[in-house]
């Protein structure tokens, strides 16, 4: 489950993701970011609804060690892939068309990352019924990686995100359900 949360959280907050790529915003309406977490075993429901303007203000005003001039500062040290390296890899992959990027199968779960049309799809299926679906629009990755060096371009990311409507992340496992989506409703019921 931890890995699920890390993947879902990173993709949702770092890149923003949408399951309905064709759904675009109407001009003038305020987009709201909704997060819903349900844990039936604890009879717990948590719902967070924030206008994207508030999210943008929080990111812009974050301390300089996190965000400088509207860009996330990311340091990967000697481990993992730096943002600059991600940018190079993305430049290659972007033009490759539909392709399976990563497939990992082990005894507990299967992880697949693929480019399908306008989306980068992440699918995680666990043996215990855990399921994670994350769809990252190509435009959002472009926006996020439009900066330089080890920086994620926050302004471009939020601007792109505010044009999108629909599901961002869905996580279903045996203990909990998580849904992150964007719409123009301030109620957070998301029609569900």
């Amino acid at each position: 489950m931890n890995r699920t949360w890390i993947v879902a959280g990173t993709l949702a907050l770092g890149f923003g993701v949408v399951g309905a790529p064709g759904v675009r915003a109407q001009a003038g309406a305020t987009p709201w970011l909704h997060v819903r977490v349900e844990e039936p075993s604890r009879q717990s429901k948590v719902s967070v609804n924030l206008p994207l303007t508030v999210v943008e203000a929080a990111i812009k005003a974050a301390p300089e060690k996190i965000v400088r001039d509207g860009r996330f500062q990311i340091s990967c040290g000697h481990h993992g892939l730096s943002v600059a390296e991600m940018r190079k890899v993305w430049a290659e992959l972007k033009n490759a068309g539909d392709i399976d990027l990563v497939t990992v199968e082990d005894k507990d779960e299967t992880v697949k990352v693929a480019r399908k049309g306008d989306l980068v799809q992440v699918r995680i299926s666990g043996k215990d019924g855990e399921e994670v679906r994350v769809d990252v629009p190509v435009g959002l990755v472009d926006a996020a990686l439009s900066g330089e060096g080890d920086e994620i371009e926050v302004g471009a990311l939020v601007r792109e995100l505010s044009k999108r409507r629909g599901d961002i992340v869905q996580v279903n496992d045996k203990d909990s359900k998580v849904r992150v989506w964007i719409d123009e409703s301030n109620a957070g019921n998301g029609g569900k």
Partner: protein, 174 residues
């Protein structure tokens, strides 16, 4: 002549005082103890008097070590400003077996409601979004004067209401 002046003073001074207090605002603290023989205490506090008292509180005494939180203060200010400008709506809802927390934005007020112990406990706080970020200065010090002045933004509303069983505390600003 002197009698008329005394009469004018006797009527005019209280009337003027009442008018000044009414114009500048009053915080109304109402405490009711539950049970038989429970006390009720009502304390009206003129905001003008509270401001005067607050201006004498040495701010150094209220300095808090904010540590890393201090660097997040500008972000908090920006978020509050953005919240003040955004449309009304429900921001946070937490529902558990025996407890419910609701945070919503209504006009220029942030309303926080907590219902606990199956309805036995109820807390409602209405925070005026305007000016709330100014209570803590750039140096991390809480300003009692600015905190009292903030109450002017909350006039004609219930600032805090707490119900715990039969006990009831309510702070309103008029």
């Amino acid at each position: 002549m002197i009698g008329k002046l005394l009469l004018a003073g006797a009527v005019g001074v209280p009337a003027l005082t009442t008018a000044t207090v009414a114009a500048t605002g009053v915080a109304w603290v109402d405490v009711r103890e539950g049970g038989q023989g429970g006390h009720r205490i009502v304390v009206p506090v003129p905001l003008l008097a509270a401001e005067l008292a607050a201006s004498f509180v040495p701010e150094k005494q209220l300095a808090q070590e904010m540590g890393e939180a201090l660097e997040h203060l500008p972000a908090a200010r920006e978020v509050l400003k953005a919240l003040a400008e955004c449309p009304d709506g429900e921001l946070v809802r937490v529902e558990e077996e025996d407890e419910r927390v609701l945070v919503e934005k209504r006009g220029d007020t942030l309303r926080i409601q907590v219902h606990g112990r199956g309805g036995q406990e109820e807390v409602t706080v209405n925070l005026p979004l305007e000016g709330i970020a100014d209570i803590i200065g750039e140096d991390g010090r809480v300003s009692p004067l600015r905190a009292v002045r903030l109450l002017r933004h909350a006039r004609f509303s219930t600032l805090v209401e707490v119900k715990d069983g039969d006990d009831h505390v309510k702070i309103s600003v008029f």
